[in-house]
Symmetry: C2
Subunit: 210 residues, 2 copies
DNA sequence: CTTGACTGGTAATGGTCATTACCGTACATG
DNA sequence: CATGTACGGTAATGACCATTACCAGTCAAG
């Protein structure tokens, strides 16, 4: 029915990972059956067991892959030479789009659920994803502070505030399946508003403190 | 072993709900077995089936109970007569403490996971919890705007920004089991910083816009 | 004491699932 | 053409689980 033979294994592996990710993200770890994955990927269960060992190994491969591919930080080059407002806007839009994308929503859901079952994986997800992103933003804010664009403060904490505004109720609603991912216009609106509040919030005061 | 007889049923019902909530929140819906619940609650499976019908009914009862008891909004009286800074501080601390509390973390986890399986329940959770809280804050901001304390803007969206800052990476880390709930001091620090940024962010400008 | 509503304990039923085992086939190289 | 390797399909094995059934004790009213 499907292609009868493929390259040694890399593309089959990818097909398995893609199909498995879909099912895991939809149903959760426990409710996902190997049969359901095979139904989507084609082939036979032996593929999964010879490539990933068992269900847990397959799951781990998915989490690792999606953690760093989808949640990677913005490249330094992307914000090179931009002022703080533009940097935050680019950063915020990118972040919101990533957080709302189906694979990241899927990973996010399953990380929250399986925190007890797979603590190591969840730690890796956080550090490579949200943690790294926030640190990256903190560096940007640190530079801005050094230039005098914003007033002194704990850059790490300020970065968390900004990231929190990006991952607000809109994100929660998407994660809960209560509404679809926002359009590009909605993203621009929400991020614009957040940038505005944040910039004013951290700006150097017009009047010196008493 | 346990008490041999109790009042008609109310306290037994509560005991079942409490034990079931623990297991559901730890293991997730699918992985929770009725036997595991009975092991914690004592008694026999017949109790559960005669009181809640089936596993789904028990789960629904838990979600409903915890959605409105734990995530209820702040009473209007609690912020009566306070200025905006104090109001936001009280509001923010209360919100963060609630969001970090074990039952709400549990409900949050399971809502995220079971969004596909129980859409109605999840909708009710959101509306009674985060949704209502945010609307309540939006009303507060609307009043402040009318008094000229803050500049014009979409109050609903501003409220989302604030709530987002309260539910930032700290919350995510707790939900993911990567760190324990923050101490009261940590809550005060984080909320204080968020209030500061937010207040400056939405303040009426010292210089009129050009 | 008798009866009945309720409860605990335990087993039966029917279903699902992870994991492994088998069987036959297609392909690639010799 | 011969043969080994990897594959698809399907079934076997052993475990777990929701739900129901069955049995026996306990309490309270008559």
């Amino acid at each position: 029915m499907a292609a009868t033979r493929m390259e040694p294994n890399e593309s089959r592996r990818q097909a398995l990972l893609r199909a498995a990710a879909e099912v895991f993200f939809e149903q959760g770890y426990v409710a996902t059956s190997i049969d359901a994955i095979i139904e989507r990927a084609g082939g036979s269960k032996r593929n999964i067991y010879s490539e990933f060992g068992n269900k847990e190994g397959l799951f781990a491969a998915i989490v690792r892959e999606n953690s760093d591919s989808a949640l990677s930080t913005l490249d330094a080059g992307d914000v090179e030479g931009l002022d703080l407002r533009a940097t935050l806007t680019v950063f915020g839009r990118h972040l919101m789009e990533v957080y709302m994308s189906p694979p990241v929503v899927g990973i996010y859901r399953i990380a929250v659920t399986e925190a007890n079952r797979f603590p190591e994986l969840v730690k890796a997800f956080y550090e490579q994803g949200p943690g790294r992103t926030t640190s990256r933003l903190a560096e940007v804010l640190e530079l801005a502070r050094a230039r005098g664009d914003i007033r002194a403060g704990n850059s790490e904490r300020l970065a968390e505030h900004f990231v929190g505004m990006i991952r607000d109720n809109l994100h929660l609603q998407v994660v809960l399946g209560l509404r679809p991912a926002p359009s590009q216009e909605e993203v621009h609106e929400a991020v614009g508003s957040a940038v505005e509040v944040f910039l004013n919030g951290v700006a150097t005061p017009l009047t010196p403190p008493d």
